[in-house]
């Protein structure tokens, strides 16, 4: 009981000192619960959407997956005759034929894409009664005839579309120009899909290339008949060659796909929350270590008057428990705020989310609080144990906190062994010749070297801080020297504080090395092998009308078509794979110069010939002249002669098997030939500039495609990787913020601990300004220590990752020195920033409090 009472009193007596630890717990828990609330809310939104859009029973062609268009670019469909048969099935109230395609782009009269951004689909379909379950027409009327279209209200709002505006829907089968005659609004939240509706005949003709077919049949059950019963009846009526699902099954299938995507987001974000927790642990350990150190005499007294070790130990843990509970509860609340904030960000980015769907499952606060409390108590365990070990004699000893133990030999050995093992694992990873094994070793190496650095950190602190001091602090005279000594006086504390920062910065450094190596490798590869002047690709596979526009564009030497074909290959040794082949025009050999290890690529483009990659050739013993059996999906089976083996030491088209378009045409019926994935073009000599401008103009009506020359392509690549890195840095910012709080915490507690010292220095003439500078410099030194370790470690990881990924074509190691140096210098500023409040408080400290004899 008394234990509880003392713990409570201590907790409240030091609530200021606990504040930063509580904030660290709060932030980490908030991120976790925010992630959970956000993804749960998204799931709710999608559940509601799918529940309202699914018809009682849906019939689709076998093999058709929602949201995925087959390689032809035209959705798979069903004969219209099925509709009558479905209608006549028992228990069916009504049935409708539905048409929908996600392989479309919708543009306004200014050729601006009005389709979905943010990864949601753009859907074109027919307006059916089933839609009325989830939508209502808010203005105008449903589309009738080939020139009328209806659009969803969110899209209309976002792009300022009104009745009477013209929309062009670009599908594989052609462009559909129509005027908006109606706007329909979702009754539930539609997170982002853009939808245009036509009447059934128009949709059939324009999206499927002919009437008499549907992509799906929507069946409504008669009153009192269960969906499952209707499904059974419809299945009996139609036969077993179709995919027939109840509303619940449709919703489940959709939900599963979205859920998988959301899970990826969830686990990625939880991963970053985990890193923040890890960093927070250091902060908590430091806080409790310092509180215990400052309370040494008090604890000694408790022991002297008869408290057992366990009681002392427990009293510290109980304090940690309070801290964990307070931090976590506030964190869960903040998490809901974070989720709402994320939804607002998503809304700003083009998604449509409603806080009405905000879902806080009971498990979220429970998980958040348990996690926060467990982590806090675990982190406090070591300091608590140390508190238990304080001897009763401490009560009698002189005041002041003993400069707590020099980092021991065990620590040195353990740290070096771990670091060594980590380095060995990294070396193994870097020299691995199998990407899979290497990745495992990389993971092991990263974890071991990180732990090793954390353990050995306090020992390194001495050396590193002296070096930083020698370089940086000399300029600041005695103030600099004192700052250095202060940073050094408790290596364990400095080590732990620096280590917290190290973790975040190591990840930043590692990713920046990998990212910039990716850019450098790809750019190098592009320079080396890409001969095409222009590259055209986009969010939709290239529709024939766009291809024609490109072919007609002036100033082009050639246009190369490039199609990916689904096919099953059988090698001479009998091994089968489904990796497909690539069909291209022979000019592709100029557009992408691929060195061959045998044969000539030009020969591979002759009829009934092909090329294979060197990895494939090695694995299956394929040589030039051998025959590979290629079963084209939806076409015939061909026996193709291997005419070239391409070198797989490349990042572009690694492992691709090339055939010519002519060969493809021989084995695939025209309606199964897929649209181009990408188009390449070469300008006539000396006309590059004009040709580029002309090509851009020719493709202006098709904003879903980007035309890029090599320079722009490289820039785009750089930008994309840059964006990805920025996103990750943004998420790592959380961990870095917690680490900065750690620096603030350490300094603040150090200032309290050194009250008398500070008073003494002030008494003998240290000015406020000098005092503040001393604390700032100490902070900078700690931050730079963490940065140095982190950047070093991270560059090691990044380099290893690059060596490993060299197997996948990441050939060039590029260390982004500007970023690394920027981060290093930035950490100095972070140090300055972290010292602001502690320095201010130290400056305000009353000199007399410090020196007055008790």
């Amino acid at each position: 009981m008394t234990v509880l009472k003392t713990s409570l009193r201590n907790f409240f007596a030091h609530k200021g000192r606990m504040a930063l630890s509580a904030v660290a717990v709060l932030l980490s828990v908030a991120f976790v619960s925010g992630t959970l609330v956000f993804t749960d809310t998204m799931n709710t939104t999608f559940d509601k959407l799918f529940a309202s859009t699914s018809s009682d029973v849906t019939v689709t062609p076998k093999g058709a997956k929602d949201g995925e268009t087959p390689q032809s670019g035209v959705p798979q469909s069903l004969p219209a005759s099925l509709l009558e048969r479905a209608r006549s099935a028992e228990g069916v109230k009504s049935a409708e034929g539905g048409v929908s395609s996600t392989s479309v782009t919708v543009v306004d009269s200014g050729n601006d894409n009005v389709g979905a951004s943010s990864g949601a689909p753009t859907i074109a379909g027919n307006w059916t009664k089933n839609e009325l379950k989830s939508m209502e027409i808010t203005s105008g009327h449903a589309p009738r005839g080939p020139t009328e279209v209806m659009v969803d209200a969110d899209t209309a709002d976002k792009h300022g579309l009104e009745l009477g505006d013209e929309l062009r829907t670009i599908a594989q089968t052609g462009d559909i120009k129509a005027r908006i005659v109606g706007i329909a609004a979702f009754k539930v939240t539609n997170p982002g899909a853009a939808i245009v509706y036509f009447d059934t005949a128009t949709a059939q003709r324009e999206l499927l290339g002919g009437t008499g077919r549907y992509t799906h049949i929507l069946v409504t059950a008669a009153a009192g008949v269960s969906d499952a019963q209707v499904k059974e009846n419809v299945t009996r009526a139609l036969g077993g060659t179709y995919k027939i699902k109840t509303a619940a099954e449709t919703a489940d299938e959709n939900r599963k796909e979205v859920g998988e995507f959301l899970d990826v987001i969830k686990y990625a974000m939880l991963g970053f929350a985990g890193i923040a927790f890890l960093v927070g642990i250091f902060l908590i350990i430091n806080t409790f270590s310092m509180l215990v150190a400052q309370r040494t005499r008090e604890i000694g007294l408790m022991r002297a008057i008869g408290s057992s070790r366990r009681q002392v130990n427990r009293s510290v843990l109980v304090e940690a428990l309070f801290l964990g509970v307070v931090g976590s509860v506030l964190g869960v609340a903040a998490g809901v705020g974070i989720a709402i904030g994320l939804m607002k960000v998503m809304t700003a980015a083009g998604m449509n989310l409603s806080t009405d769907d905000l879902t806080v499952k009971a498990t979220t606060p429970v998980a958040g609080v348990i996690l926060g409390v467990v982590v806090t108590v675990l982190a406090a365990y070591l300091p608590a144990r140390r508190a238990g070990k304080i001897s009763p004699m401490a009560a009698l000893r002189d005041a002041g906190t003993p400069a707590d133990g020099k980092a021991g030999r065990i620590r040195a050995v353990a740290g070096l062994v771990l670091t060594g093992a980590g380095a060995l694992a990294l070396y193994t990873a870097g020299t691995a010749d199998q990407a899979g094994d290497g990745a495992l070793m990389l993971g092991v190496g990263v974890v071991l070297s990180l732990i090793g650095f954390v353990v050995v950190g306090p020992l390194l602190a001495g050396g590193v801080v002296r070096v930083i001091g020698a370089v940086l602090l000399r300029a600041f005279g005695p103030v600099g020297r004192m700052a250095e000594r202060n940073a050094l006086r408790n290596p364990r504390r400095t080590g732990a504080t620096g280590a917290a920062l190290m973790i975040g910065l190591a990840l930043v450094a590692c990713l920046s090395v990998v990212g910039s190596s990716m850019v450098a490798s790809a750019t190098g590869e592009l320079d080396k092998s890409v001969g095409a002047d222009f590259i055209v690709q986009g969010s939709q596979r290239i529709v024939p009308q766009a291809e024609r526009a490109m072919q007609k564009s002036p100033g082009l030497e050639h246009v190369t078509r490039y199609k990916m074909l689904d096919a099953t290959l059988t090698s001479p040794d009998g091994a089968k794979d489904d990796d497909g082949v690539t069909a291209a025009d022979p000019t592709y050999a100029e557009d992408l110069r691929r060195p061959t290890t045998a044969g000539s690529l030009a020969d591979a483009y002759s009829t009934d010939a092909m090329s294979v990659g060197s990895d494939y050739a090695d694995k299956h013993g394929v040589r030039v002249g051998d025959t590979v059996t290629v079963a084209f999906e939806g076409g015939k089976t061909a026996k193709l002669k291997v005419a070239a083996i391409t070198d797989d030491d490349t990042a572009i088209d690694q492992g691709a098997r090339y055939i010519s378009i002519t060969t493809m045409q021989k084995y695939l019926p025209a309606d199964r030939i897929p649209p181009n994935t990408i188009l390449f073009a070469k300008a006539r000599d000396g006309q590059e500039k004009q040709a580029y401008a002309a090509l851009k103009q020719a493709l202006d009506p098709y904003p879903q495609y980007q035309v890029r020359d090599q320079t722009d392509y490289k820039q785009e690549l750089k930008d994309q990787i840059g964006q990805l890195l920025n996103l990750v840095y943004g998420l790592l910012a959380l961990a870095i913020i917690v680490a900065v709080l750690g620096v603030v915490n350490t300094l603040a507690l150090s200032v309290v601990e050194r009250t008398r010292e500070i008073g003494l220095m002030r008494a003998i003439g240290l000015s406020r300004r000098q005092l503040r500078r001393m604390i700032r410099l100490e902070s900078v030194v700690i931050a730079l220590f963490g940065a140095l370790l982190g950047l070093g470690l991270g560059m090691g990881w990044g380099t290893t990752a690059q060596k490993l990924l060299a197997l996948e074509g990441l050939n060039v190691l590029d260390i982004p020195w500007p970023t690394i140096i920027g981060v290093f210098v930035g950490s100095a500023f972070v140090g300055l920033f972290a010292a602001l409040i502690p320095a201010f408080r130290a400056g305000r400290m009353n000199v007399l409090n410090a020196i007055a004899t008790e």
């Binding site: 005041a399 002041g400 400069a403 005279g477 005695p478 103030v479 020297r481 004192m482 000594r485 202060n486 050094l488 006086r489 008398r756 010292e757 003494l760 220095m761 002030r762 008494a763 003998i764 003439g765 240290l766 000015s767 406020r768 000098q770 000199v847 007399l848 020196i851 007055a852 004899t853």
Partner: protein, 262 residues
């Protein structure tokens, strides 16, 4: 007897006034209304240059407060304090800090030294902070006087209590301040180490012409001084020149008895 004004004595260093510090009608009060506590009640005092002055008094008499105010560590409620010709009452923190750094030396009862600095660094700290170079010859003499030559590279934790206080004395002397304030400088020492430190203080007055003000409640320590001021209830109630330990003790017993009977 509310004041004690000292007659200027001979032997002061040329140029400066004979009074190193003076306080006039100094009041220091804490709190307000009912809870108002007066620590110094209209104190007038002159500290003679080149003299060793001890301030004595029972706990709560205001002796430490007086020293803190004279040294510019604490502010006064009313009244004026001059250090030489400089009025320090009303000075801003920045000026006060400079004043302490350049013109005043301190020796505290405990925690005199920075644990991160070695003995020599501690001694030269005030000058380092000021960005001044220590006078080598003088420093050597000071170090020699306090007998620390062999221990300059030691950290405070490696020194005994007496040695630590000697380092503190050396620090106070090294910058040649106009005046040194000691707050129970021997309070934490055994009698032998205490005697040693007091001996140094005495010698620095006699041989180096240093002005020293020391707060103490130890009659033996006070007996090293040229003059003893007695404080009670925030007022100077008595003074004594060239005291011996017995005289001081008797006087204190006297006050004690008076305090009890009144």
């Amino acid at each position: 007897m509310t004041s004690a004004v000292t007659i200027p004595r001979h032997g002061s260093t040329g140029g400066r006034t004979a009074v190193a510090a003076r306080a006039r009608q100094v009041v220091k009060a804490y709190g307000a209304g009912e809870t108002r506590v007066v620590a110094l009640d209209h104190v007038d005092v002159d500290i003679a240059r080149g003299q060793f002055t001890a301030i004595m008094g029972p706990s709560g008499s205001g002796k430490s407060t007086l020293m803190h105010c004279l040294a510019g560590l604490d502010t006064v409620t009313s009244g004026h304090i001059h250090l030489d010709e400089t009025e320090i009452t009303g000075l801003k923190d920045k000026k006060l800090t400079q004043l302490r750094r350049d013109r005043i030396g301190f020796i505290f009862q405990a925690f005199n030294l920075l644990p991160t600095l070695n003995a020599l660094e501690n001694i030269t700290l005030p000058m380092d902070i000021a960005g001044r170079k220590p006078d080598r010859e003088w420093l050597a003499r000071v170090v020699d006087t306090v007998g620390l030559a062999g221990r300059l590279k030691h950290r405070p934790t490696q020194l005994s209590g007496g040695q630590q206080q000697r380092v503190a004395v050396a620090r106070a002397l090294a910058a040649r301040p106009e005046i040194i304030f000691g707050d129970e400088p021997t309070g934490n020492l055994d009698s032998r180490a205490g005697a040693e430190v007091l001996g140094f203080l005495r010698r620095s007055v006699d041989e180096l012409g240093q002005t020293i003000v020391m707060v103490t409640h130890d009659p033996v320590a006070a007996s090293y001084a040229d003059r003893v001021l007695y404080l009670a209830d925030g007022r100077i109630v008595d003074e004594m020149y060239q005291p011996t330990a017995e005289q001081v003790l008797d006087r204190m017993k006297d006050f004690d008895a008076r305090g009890r009977t009144s």
